[in-house]
Structures are given as C-alpha cells and as structure tokens.
Symmetry: C2
Subunit: 309 residues, 2 copies
Amino acid sequence: MILTVTLNTALDITYRVPSLRPHTSHRVSQVTERPGGKGLNVARVLAALGHEVTVTGFTGGATGSVVRDRLADSLGVADALVPVAGATRRTIAVVDERTGDTTQLNEPGPVITPGEWSTFQDVYENLLGSVSAVALCGSLPPGVPVGAYAGLVRSAHTADVPVLLDTSGEPLRRAVAARPDIIKPNAEELAELTGSHEPLRATQDARRRGARAVVASLGGEGLLAHTPEGHWRATPPARVHGNPTGAGDSAVAGLLSGLVEHLPWPDRLARATALSTATVLAHAAGEFDRGAYEELLGRVSVTGEVSAA
Amino acid sequence: MILTVTLNTALDITYRVPSLRPHTSHRVSQVTERPGGKGLNVARVLAALGHEVTVTGFTGGATGSVVRDRLADSLGVADALVPVAGATRRTIAVVDERTGDTTQLNEPGPVITPGEWSTFQDVYENLLGSVSAVALCGSLPPGVPVGAYAGLVRSAHTADVPVLLDTSGEPLRRAVAARPDIIKPNAEELAELTGSHEPLRATQDARRRGARAVVASLGGEGLLAHTPEGHWRATPPARVHGNPTGAGDSAVAGLLSGLVEHLPWPDRLARATALSTATVLAHAAGEFDRGAYEELLGRVSVTGEVSAA
C-alpha cells in the first residue's frame, strides 16, 4: 500500500469559453469537475498502474463531499481523508477555445484548526504502520504550520517508510532539512530553494541541504536526477504538445511506483518520464494516455553514471 | 404571501484577485458565496421589506444543497424549490482589485427533464392558490421549453394572481403575448423585444405586444413606466457610483411589494427606484443599504400623467 498526502485537496473545475475577455460576461460552454490536489492526482495514476493506494489530507464542506464521492468512484483508491469544518477549495481553469490558453483561479483553501491538524497527525502516524512508501504533495492550507512537512518527514523516518516530497517555497526549505528520501522540484522551485538557475548545480546543492535524492523536472526536457546511487538524465524521444496539467504528478507516481517495486534508478526515471509525457498527450487534463505511455517507455533516453561505491 | 420563481437558481461566487491577467495563474484573495438567480434576489429584498415570500424553481446537486442551506438561514423566505438530478449552476464574478472591474463566468445550468418540468408545473399551480402575486424571473435552464413563461403567465391568470415577468430574449417575446400584468425589461432587453432603441417608443410598443404594464429600467437614470393607469418617469436624485449587481432585482421587489400593498403607480415607482439606487450603494453585491433607501425614498422625482378615464 502506498500513501499519498494532500493537505490542500481541491475540486478542480474546468470551464471552456469561446474567448476570455476581461471585464465582460461569459457563458461557459462546458463544465468539468474532478478531485484535485497533487496527492490525489498521484494516487489516481498509481491506481491506474495497479498499485493499492490510500489518500489522506483534509476535506470539508459541499466541495469536499463532491471530492469524496468522486474518489469513491475511482477503483483502487482508499479514502482516509480527515473531515474539517471549512470547505475544500475550488480551482477554476478557464480554457479559451480560440487560443487554447488557460487562465487559472485558485482559492486559498479552508483554515485548518489546531485540533484538526492534531487529528490529521494521529491518522497519518497510524497509516504509516501499514504502508510501503509515502508521498507528501502540494501546498499547505491556511492554519497548517509552515514546518508541517518537516514533521511528517521525520514521522515517516521513525516508521521506516521512504518519503517523497513534492512542494515548494518555505515548506520545502524546512522539510529538506529533515532529509526526505526524494524531492521532485521543477526548475523554478529548485531555483527558489537553492538560489541557482543552473539545474545541475542546483540539484547537487539541494542534496547538500538534506535531500537524499533530487529529481528535478525540466518540463518537456525530462528529468535530472542526483541520488546516492548515481546521477542520470532522462529525456523523452521528442518534444510533445498538449496540456502539461498533472505531468509533474504523473512523474511522482512513476518514481514512487518504481521505488516500491525496487527498480533501479534508470528504470524509475524512464517510467516517470514516459508517464509524464503521456499525461501531456492525454485528452483530459491530468489523465495519461496508456497507449502512449507503453510506447514511450522503451524510447526514453536515460544517460548518466553510477556513483563509485 | 408573494411567490417568486427562479427556474435557473445559482450559487453566486465572488472572487477578489489583485489583478486579472488572462493566461496566467491567480491566487484568489477572498471568496464569498450566496444563493443567486433573480427570483431569489427579489425574495430576499421582499423579506427585508417585511413581506412573507415563498421561492420556487429548481435546485440540485452539491451546489443546490448550499443554496438551500443558505436560504434556510434567511428569515422570512419559505423554500418550495423542486429538487432535480442535475446540479445547480455556479456563477463566478472575478473582481479585479486594481481596477474594480468584474469579469463574469456563468455556467449554463442543469438539464431539466420533462418529468422535472412537469413536477414543477404541479407545484407552481398548487402555490398559486395561496399567493397574492407572483414574479417570474431570469433565464431558462436547458430542457425547459422556450414557451415556459407564457404557460406560467396563463396559469397565474387562471388563478387570478397578478404576475410580473423579468426575463429576456425569446422566452420574453413568447410570454408577452400571454399578457403578463407587468414586465420589467432593461433598455437592451426592451430593444431586443421591440426593435426600437428609443425607450419611450419601445415601452409603448411592448404594451401593444401584450404586456399590461411596462416598466423599463434605464440604469442610473431610473425607471420609465407605461401602464393602463398612466405613464411616469422616476429619477433618482443623483447619479451614484457602486456595484449595479442586483439593482434590477431590487426594482422588481419594489414594484411587487407596491402592487400587493395597492400603492398608486407613482409610489411604486419611487420605491423601486430608491431600492434600486440603495442596492448600487450597498457594500455587498445584491444587498441594499436600508439607511440610503429610506433617505432616497422621499427624494426620487416621479413625473408623468394619469390616463384619461
């Protein structure tokens, strides 16, 4: 069983409009809704890969009920979400049908009370007793202390459960010092953490700050990994066009599934890169195209070298 | 008891963002929600004026539950909404804090099945037995026949209940032929109905098409009324600045309360104009400033003449 944590779950709503013109009124031509927040996206991809997965974090209000109802319909995802008094946030992606561009509006999320945060920590520590790996994903809702992920990383260490962290800003900086097994920043998050815009230097620096392994996602250029076992670069066979929403979450699912299956790093990176690329190619945002994934898997180039023992 | 009908109820959501820039990502700094749809707005104002009011129309899904929960908190509004399988639509108003401008995104609303429409008609005809007036407000959700309001006007006539209609486009055109007691188009809706952009000529033309009385709302310039009893123009004492959301709904509440209180037309028009202006001046969209309303009531200018008997 793999555990994914999404402290700031969301109801992801997509609106299609013929053309977005600020300060005018629009009739939305199509509305789609799905459970969101990085950890829930990771869980969906893990389930599609055949892994048993449990999700936890916070949900509340009418939006939270929709998220839980939809999750219950997803085969293979167990719901250990903690109910809170506030309402789960909405995110609205407004797709301009003329240009294909997306305008994003993200609600901040409910304020989590100290009692709710304490309940979550109990639930999390309990779940750690029965999982093979954990992913800590996304932003913190208001009320959750900025050092939250650092504490959750330490609890995972105590329970001897490997932990992957995918967040940004100050919560990332604090948690890196607690020595997570893997972090997966994108180029911008990595630069914010290390002060360096040079990915090779920045991944090395992030390891010096405490992360055991750093896998930087470089958008369409693939992944750059620095680990105790070696360093590699994974590159998709060609640049693809499509919707990058969820591509990073698919990469996390690839890395995490590879970890619990004890795959060597080059195989984990190939899987993560193929899943990420197949997500950009999918029709629905955040899904992945299984045919494209299987076809891409053998065509990802992984170059690098194993560390001297 | 006054009845207001809102076939396409809504959960009205307002987002404040520092500055709206298309094709970028925004953190929403403030989220507010309230039950919406013209008839619900009218009902709230009527209740604030001390009238007993019942609301009907359709609600469904998680958004519909939020609408009903919030309505239950509004003192004096009785809920006779008909549950449907589809989800009540959301409307999103994105307020740009830099310019104060609003960008509106309106979902289409749930598809109403023939069975749900038939259930509504039964509920409506039942309610007509115990009400002193009815307001038919707003757009039609998908699935409701375009001649719906014409049928609802005829049912009101059969039950001897005066009916005010506030809609637009083809549903307005069809229903005007069924001879509603009052219609309250704005200048644009009136021009669309009659083909004339000259309000005086257009209100007269709308009466020839079947409406017994026509009250055109001319934005900040007040109201223009043509009725069997005479014709008048009501003008607020000064142009005001603020948020015009709901100003037309407050005018409807003013006209309808004046009708059931048997006020002469000039008093109804003064009340409707003062309420409408006090709504523009209110802090929250769609509310009205009671102090401003009471102060404005004596200062609205109403000029015109009574028809020859």
